[in-house]
């Protein structure tokens, strides 16, 4: 498809420059092929990866043309096909008026997506994105051929969100692959991909994906508005976008979900959420999102509802354990010993007898140690992993207790907290719990359970005020939407979830029904 470039040449002085839609001055192509080639190469910095091939057509022996492309970011097969088409072009020119430029477009180039350009900058940026370019002598337009490709990782199993039952495909760093993965799941004409380019230097491609009629129009518009407002030189990962478009900057809680699972992204799209894909990362963003979503895993919908509900409760409990257990231990052993059964109290007192630090300092020592071990585990080369495990488990755990630096009970508390923090399916929600844990430990160590209660009240007020793209974060609990409770910390069977979540998806009634004639399975009644 051709885009009629609307660039206007500046009147008078310099016929070689014009302005683009944003008012930027740009260099227009001139009839002289040599000059165009030189300007293009100068614009691209004369890199060694620029391939330039000058060709002549048998029907136009006096008119040369040049093929340009960037090696490595183009699809080799497409280039081969195109070259073959150009060189073996046996078509006779039928009309005298037909020029080489039109002939190439209409008859020679055997690649699907082509367009034209009139400015060196446009041509250069297209090449940087993987397009091939043909400059024709005497023509003021260049032909841009979409040959985007090059080496990229193949579709593999996601590393951060594994499941026992469910699809094993994960998103990759290639945007086109990612859009295809979604298209393969949702084969609906209502599925929309709105493309954008962000980043002055990186010119990163972004796709906003949603289901028209299911996603709320105002949410889609708001996503577009916020993305369009981003002004940055580089986008290297979706995290950049996330920080720019989230509703509140200063909060430990994630306000946008991320996933590398196509099925999870599609589930979100089908519930009316908007997915933002960013070229160069397998992690896509999903918005708007509520607090409960971070405790749900795609697998919950693939296995039986009863076990899914049970596991969701386990995850929520783990979140609270991860956030509260060390602070509760500190508060109870420091301020509220009367709450403990006497034998346990005596046992704890005996363990803590030789420990020189108060419980708060002891807990801080252990928690910081664990955080260091955890970070080391992520950053170190995999081959030395076992060494860190030995050092962590034996030296810092057992030896610290034997040396009387910390009590055995504290090691148990910290270990259990650590394990609980890994249960939360969303890593970013786990990170929130990690940060809040330290604040609550200080409150618990200073004011006991009253301090923890005050901290929880602060969290509750804070979370009650949070919004994700205008949607209350604590939906559907506050404000209460009873029908949405079916898929929160519990999951009812699929046949009972007839409607999409109210408030998240479009209000148009026909679109709300997820299950048509689906009813509770009852073979006896069917047979009767």
């Amino acid at each position: 498809m051709f885009n009629n470039n609307k660039n206007k040449q500046t009147a008078g002085d310099d016929k070689q420059t014009g302005t683009d839609r944003n008012g930027q001055v740009e260099q227009l192509l001139v009839p002289d092929l040599e000059q165009n080639m030189e300007r293009l190469q100068r614009f691209l910095g004369d890199g060694a990866d620029i391939v330039c091939r000058m060709l002549t057509h048998r029907s136009f022996p006096n008119q040369r043309y040049t093929l340009f492309y960037m090696d490595g970011i183009v699809d080799g097969a497409s280039i081969g096909t195109m070259l073959l088409g150009l060189l073996e072009d046996a078509n006779k020119v039928t009309e005298d008026t037909e020029g080489l430029y039109t002939h190439l477009i209409d008859r020679s180039i055997a690649v699907g997506k082509i367009r034209s350009a009139t400015a060196i900058e446009e041509v250069g940026y297209a090449m940087l994105e993987g397009s091939s370019v043909i400059l024709v002598e005497g023509s003021l337009k260049a032909i841009l051929i979409d040959t985007t490709g090059g080496e990229s990782r193949s579709v593999e199993e996601p590393t951060s969100q594994t499941v026992v039952r469910g699809p094993k495909e994960g998103f990759t760093e290639n945007l086109r692959t990612n859009t295809a993965l979604v298209r393969r799941i949702i084969k609906s004409p209502k599925l929309r991909f709105d493309y954008k380019v962000i980043g002055r230097e990186t010119r990163t491609n972004i796709a906003v994906v949603y289901l028209q009629g299911i996603a709320q129009d105002d949410v889609v518009q708001e996503v577009h508005r916020r993305i369009d407002q981003i002004e940055i030189d580089a986008i290297l990962e979706s995290g950049y976008i996330e920080e720019f478009i989230q509703d509140k900057a200063f909060t430990p809680f994630p306000l946008i979900q991320n996933t590398e699972r196509p099925d999870a992204a599609c589930a979100g799209i089908l519930e009316g959420q908007v997915v933002i894909m960013v070229s160069g990362t397998p992690f896509v963003l999903i918005a708007p999102v509520t607090f409960v979503k971070f405790f749900q895993s795609s697998e919950d919908y693939y296995q039986r509802y009863d076990i899914s509900t049970f596991l969701r409760f386990i995850r929520v409990a783990s979140f609270f354990i991860s956030m509260l257990l060390p602070s509760l231990y500190i508060a109870i052993t420091t301020f509220h010993q009367e709450m403990l059964p006497t034998p346990l109290l005596i046992s704890l007192a005996a363990q803590r007898e030789g420990v020189p630090f108060p419980a708060l300092v002891e807990a801080f020592l252990m928690e910081i140690t664990f955080e260091i071990l955890r970070e080391a585990g992520v950053r170190m080369p995999r081959i030395i992993g076992p060494a860190i495990s030995i050092v962590g488990a034996l030296v810092l755990g057992q030896a610290a207790v034997q040396a009387g630096l910390v009590s055995a009970a504290m090691v148990i508390v910290v270990s259990f907290t650590a394990i609980a923090s890994f249960v939360i399916p969303a890593v970013n929600m786990g990170s929130a719990a990690r940060l809040i844990r330290f604040a609550l430990m200080i409150l618990g160590g200073s004011f006991g359970l009253f301090g923890i209660m005050s901290g929880l009240m602060v969290l509750l007020a804070h979370m009650s005020g949070l919004r994700s793209f205008g949607k209350p974060y604590l939906l559907p609990f506050s404000p209460l939407i009873v029908s949405n409770l079916k898929d929160t910390f519990i999951r009812v069977p699929w046949w009972a979830m007839r409607k999409r979540p109210i408030g998240m998806s479009s209000n148009r009634v026909p679109n709300q029904h997820r299950i048509g004639g689906g009813k509770r399975p009852d073979p006896d009644q069917e047979g009767a």
Binding site: M339, G448, F450, G451, M457, A461, H462, S464, F477, P479
Partner: protein, 369 residues
């Protein structure tokens, strides 16, 4: 900026949390102190009166065409009256806030943190309340709804755990205290129930302002039910004579619970949930104060008002009641005219003013497209 919207359920939660947290502390002692084992009858009578007050308050609120409280009063009763009433309500909510903070701080100091300086407790409480306010009335309303959910879960559990100790025969004989003492015992709960007047401030933020009547009545009945449960449990577990000697009968009832032989002193969990209701109450009253002062004095930044009032509240709470007994005296005796004036007399004056200026209101509404 979007106008905050509060659902009817959240309004009910605000009303209940504005009444019960402090009421459950003082009402059982007060009613049982006067009416002995007939205290629950006083609470029932107070509940009926509370519903009447709630209906009256809601009826007044329904006259509001959607303006904020001070603006509404100004539009109907004139600028001077608006500023005066706004200022008076600002002072009322400020004083009430200080009283609640001190009650809570005293309780925490008495029950749990006897070595922590009370100043620190007060600072934490005011800071948490101010933090909640900074997130707006919607955040307070949502928090109130979730805290109410916790209360709804905790009450049946508490009754269940105390089931073995409950002896309803301790409520007998009925009407033993005599009508006069039962009547006297209703004053305290009725005054607490009159705090439903917080609806003046909250109603303009409601998503469906016309459902204020429903929210008011349900909130009042919900509060009465809580007070009734606490009073009945206190008497039926300990007997009226013992309850009279208790400072906090509510927590003594849950304090005697023992599950198996390994779980005891679990009243701390009940205290924690009650503490959260206290925080909601503090936030609601601080909001009321900030709201009234900001609009009555036409201040541009409510954030600065919030900061100033919070600082003033810390100092006021510390120096007004140098000894805890003075607070007890204030809550039981001095609060009677205080609550009567602001929750009954001034609203009645507002109602009369609105009736007198009814034509003016209708005219304005007609002018509004």
């Amino acid at each position: 900026m979007m106008k905050p919207e509060i659902s009817t359920l959240q309004t009910v939660a605000i009303v209940i949390n504005a009444i019960t947290p402090t009421a459950v502390l003082s009402v059982p002692s007060a009613t049982i102190g006067f009416a002995s084992n007939d205290g629950w009858i006083s609470v029932l009578i107070a509940a009926a009166a509370g519903v009447i007050i709630a209906i009256a308050m809601a009826a007044i609120c329904r006259g509001n065409p959607g303006l904020l409280f001070v603006e509404w009063i100004e539009s109907r009763l004139g600028k001077t009256a608006g500023i005066l009433i706004g200022f008076l309500f600002g002072v009322y909510y400020f004083n009430a806030f200080c009283m609640i903070v001190r009650q809570f701080a005293n309780f925490i100091a008495d029950m749990v943190l006897d070595e922590t300086p009370i100043v620190m407790l007060i600072i934490v409480m005011v800071a948490v309340s101010a933090f909640s306010i900074a997130h707006g009335i919607e955040a307070i309303a949502r928090s109130a709804a979730l805290v109410l959910l916790m209360v709804i879960i905790v009450i049946p559990i508490s009754i269940g755990l105390n089931f073995d100790d409950i002896n309803l025969k301790r409520l007998l004989p009925f009407f033993d205290a005599g009508a006069a003492r039962i009547g006297l015992a209703t004053i305290s709960p009725i005054l607490w129930m009159s705090e439903v007047s917080i609806l003046f401030i909250v109603q303009p933020y409601m998503k469906y302002p016309k459902s204020v009547m429903r929210a008011s009545v349900i909130g009042s009945v919900g509060s009465s039910v809580q007070l009734l449960v606490v009073t009945v449990m206190s008497v039926s577990i300990f007997g009226a004579e013992v309850v009279r000697m208790m400072s906090y009968p509510l927590f003594n009832t849950v304090g005697i619970v023992e599950v198996g032989e390994f779980l005891e002193r679990i009243e701390i969990f009940t205290v924690s949930v009650w503490g959260m209701t206290m925080y909601v109450k503090m936030a609601v009253f601080l909001f009321g104060s900030v709201h009234c002062f900001t609009h009555a004095l036409r201040l541009k930044s409510s954030t600065h008002v919030l900061f100033g009032i919070s600082m003033l509240a810390i100092v006021t709470t510390i120096v007004t009641w140098p000894r805890n007994t003075e607070l007890g005296q204030f809550v039981i005796v001095d609060s009677v005219p205080f609550l009567t004036l602001f929750n009954l007399i001034i609203p009645a004056c507002i109602a009369i003013g609105l009736l007198v200026t009814r034509g003016k209101g209708a005219e304005k509404e007609a002018q509004t497209p």
